[in-house]
């Protein structure tokens, strides 16, 4: 515990700016992963415990594409589309067989897939840490704000995440497909009876959710070390985010991701050993006071 250091940091503009930017980065990645998780849960009613492994795959796909082509755009596309494809395959081949079964079965198949993917990555890329390195496009000097420095790439990441979040929100709330997806979440039989291919839609939504995890992984690749187990911690944290924000709520995920991001960034200064405990305490508090989450709908 070092609350004086925390107070001093909040008081000094340069430290506060640095920590806010760190918090934004953590929050951004969490938001992308949690939004996918939340979307899949909201529409399909299943919890994709393998979501963290998809994030990891996104990072490794981006790493491969970047080392092959040297283009960060290609890396981003490989991470996003590659993971979307894996997500669709996972949904069709495995997950769709356990829809409507109890939670334990879903948990178990995801656990199995996590084990297989982690080991697969270990076989293909080796178990040691990998670094992708910062793409040249972002080699610009960091932007100075009130004495604190923010790397250019951070700004790009936050912009990407905001764009993705906005696109998702508009897609769900303002388009015809979005309307169908929302209807699918409420009454799949009715949607099917109206002649809409719900199987295709389910796979599509699962793919989209996975794509978000892939984008997060690809965005994280330049600033994080790549290890086969890197999906685990983000999985747990994005769970906390979805629970705090409310299962199935994209806006809630955004709010909660920022909350957790800032808790992480400032907690690292004030109470470094107790950051995880604080996150879980916040989650427990939310579950006790409002089990459906900050912005979640009340469970029927």
């Amino acid at each position: 515990m070092n609350l004086e250091a925390l107070a001093a940091c909040v008081a000094s503009a340069s430290c506060a700016v640095t920590q806010v930017s760190t918090g934004l980065i953590v929050g951004t990645l969490l938001f992308l992963v949690a939004a996918g998780l939340s979307l899949i849960f909201g529409v399909l009613g299943v919890i994709n415990f393998a979501h963290g492994a998809f994030y990891m795959l996104g990072a490794y796909f981006a790493f491969s594409a970047y080392t092959l082509t040297g283009s960060f755009l290609a890396a981003l596309a490989a991470g996003a589309l590659g993971v979307a494809a894996v997500g669709v395959a996972f949904e069709r081949l495995i997950m769709s067989r356990v829809y409507g079964r109890d939670l334990l079965m879903q948990l178990l198949v995801c656990y199995a897939v996590i084990l297989i993917l982690d080991d697969g990555v270990k076989i293909l890329y080796g178990g040691e840490y990998r670094l992708m390195g910062m793409p040249e496009a972002f080699a610009a000097p960091p932007v100075e704000v009130a004495g604190g420095f923010i790397p250019a790439y951070y700004l790009f990441m936050v912009g990407m995440a905001l764009a993705a979040g906005l696109a998702l929100w508009l897609g769900i709330n303002r388009t015809r497909t979005g309307k169908i997806v929302r209807a699918l979440a409420i009454n799949p039989q009715m949607v099917g009876a109206l002649g809409i291919n719900t199987t295709l839609l389910y796979a599509g939504v699962f793919g989209l959710g996975s794509l978000l995890a892939g984008v997060a992984g690809a965005l994280a690749a330049p600033i994080r070390t790549l290890t086969p187990g890197m999906g685990l911690s983000i999985l747990i944290e994005s769970f906390i985010v979805t629970v705090i924000g409310g299962m199935g709520s994209i806006a809630g995920a955004f709010l909660a991701a920022l909350l957790i991001g800032f808790t992480r960034a400032f907690g690292a200064i004030g109470f470094p050993l107790f950051v995880d405990g604080t996150m879980f305490a916040i989650m427990a508090l939310v579950l006790m006071l409002k089990p459906s989450g900050l912005l979640g709908r009340e469970a029927a």
Binding site: I47, I94, R97, V98, D102, L103, L104, M105, L107, L108, V109, Y111, A112, V113, I114, L115, I116, D118, D119, G120, K122, I123, I236, F239, I240, V243, M247, L273, F274, D276, G277, F280, A281, M283, A284, L287, M288, P291, A299
Partner: protein
């Protein structure tokens, strides 16, 4: 109406089965004196208790807890710390560790059981990670991520020297079977049947006047206490306690054991623990791609069998028994009807006679 007491039907059979299990556990290391077997059995016993106590929540009451390892760790740490303090005897430390864990489960459970379905799972996970984080942070007491080191002393008690591997194993086996006995008694008691009702139809249970929350809390505390015994056994055996005991992967493994073995049979989770231990053992011996093999096995079981192995075998045997009974009935049908005919014969005659007489 007479209240069913402790002496329920089937008690004798269960007691005999328990004694037989104890005998097998005690004789096995005598027949195969390799230390590796004894170690394997103690691990299975410790994790078996964790899985079986978790199944009191998952299979019996329908509460899917993701945070059961918290009580496993709490038992191990409480026991280890008490023994290291050197002020209490070994059995007293065990009792205190179980009681302390039960109290912890009471406090946490009082909050958790109010939530339903997935929210219950999440809040149990949250509390477990909170406890895990406390273990990591409170370095002066728990040793942080290094675990509780310096060994756990095993002073002799009642003439038993636990420093000897054989005696240690024997005490663990007796503890294990005693816990199984308690859990079996609870599942077969009226309380246990009330829990099944709560699992299948909570609204109806409440309507019938059961205090659902209190019953859930009761089984939550009992399950926590039983898990702590598993933790105590493991701490006693490895002579230490580690934060991994309370990490979420330990809970995950316990859930996996339950699913591997099956939720509906009393001993299913134990079968699962045994299978997982065996699998882990052989897979690590033969390949370094442990996750790949384990993951594939899980997928085959879940997508192929669609239930736990013990449940599958049980249902398969049940179906075969039913089929055999059906075919036996079909085979004996003609003779049976002939016999019925023969039995009815004279009666009809008599009836005819009566009828004749009346007309």
């Amino acid at each position: 109406m007479r209240r069913p007491g402790l002496l329920r039907p089937g008690l004798l059979r269960d007691a005999l089965a328990g004694l037989a299990l104890l005998a097998v556990l005690l004789v096995l290391p005598l027949l195969f004196p390799q230390p590796a077997l004894r170690d394997f059995l103690i691990y299975t016993i410790a994790y078996g208790l964790l899985a079986m106590s978790l199944n009191l929540l998952v299979g019996l009451t329908g509460l899917v807890s993701f945070g059961h390892a918290a009580y496993f760790a709490s038992g191990a740490y409480a026991f280890g710390l008490l023994m290291q303090s050197g002020r209490v005897s070994l059995p007293l430390a065990m009792l205190a560790a179980v009681a302390g864990t039960a109290l912890l489960a009471l406090v946490i459970g009082a909050i958790c059981v109010r939530l339903k379905a997935i929210y219950f799972s999440f809040i149990t996970l949250a509390f477990q990670m909170f406890i895990h984080s406390v273990i990591l942070t409170w370095v002066s007491l728990t040793g942080g991520d290094q675990g509780l080191r310096g060994g756990i002393p095993r002073p002799p008690f009642l003439g038993l020297d636990l420093g000897q591997a054989g005696t240690l194993y024997g005490v663990c086996a007796v503890l294990f079977v005693a816990c199984l006995g308690i859990m079996r008694q609870v599942t077969q008691s009226p309380f246990g049947y009330s829990l099944r009702l709560i699992r299948d139809n909570p609204a109806r249970a409440a309507f019938l006047g059961l205090d659902v929350l209190r019953m859930k809390l009761g089984i939550f505390v009992l399950a926590g206490a039983m898990a702590s015994v598993g933790g105590i056994i493991l701490a006693l055996f490895v002579s230490g306690a580690y934060p991994e005991f309370g990490f979420w992967t330990t809970s995950g493994e316990a859930i996996f054991m339950i699913m591997l073995g099956g939720t509906q049979l009393f001993l299913g989770p134990l079968v699962g623990a045994l299978l997982l231990q065996t699998l882990n053992h052989y897979v690590t011996v033969y390949t370094e791609h442990h996750g790949l093999v384990l993951g594939t096995v899980i997928l085959v079981i879940v997508l192929g069998l669609r239930r736990g192995v013990a449940d599958f075998v049980h249902e398969h045997l049940g179906e075969r028994r039913a089929a055999r009974a059906a075919s036996a009935r079909a085979a004996s049908a003609p003779t049976a009807s002939a016999r019925a005919e023969a039995a009815r014969g004279p009666g009809e005659v008599r009836l005819d006679g009566v009828r004749k007489g009346t007309t």
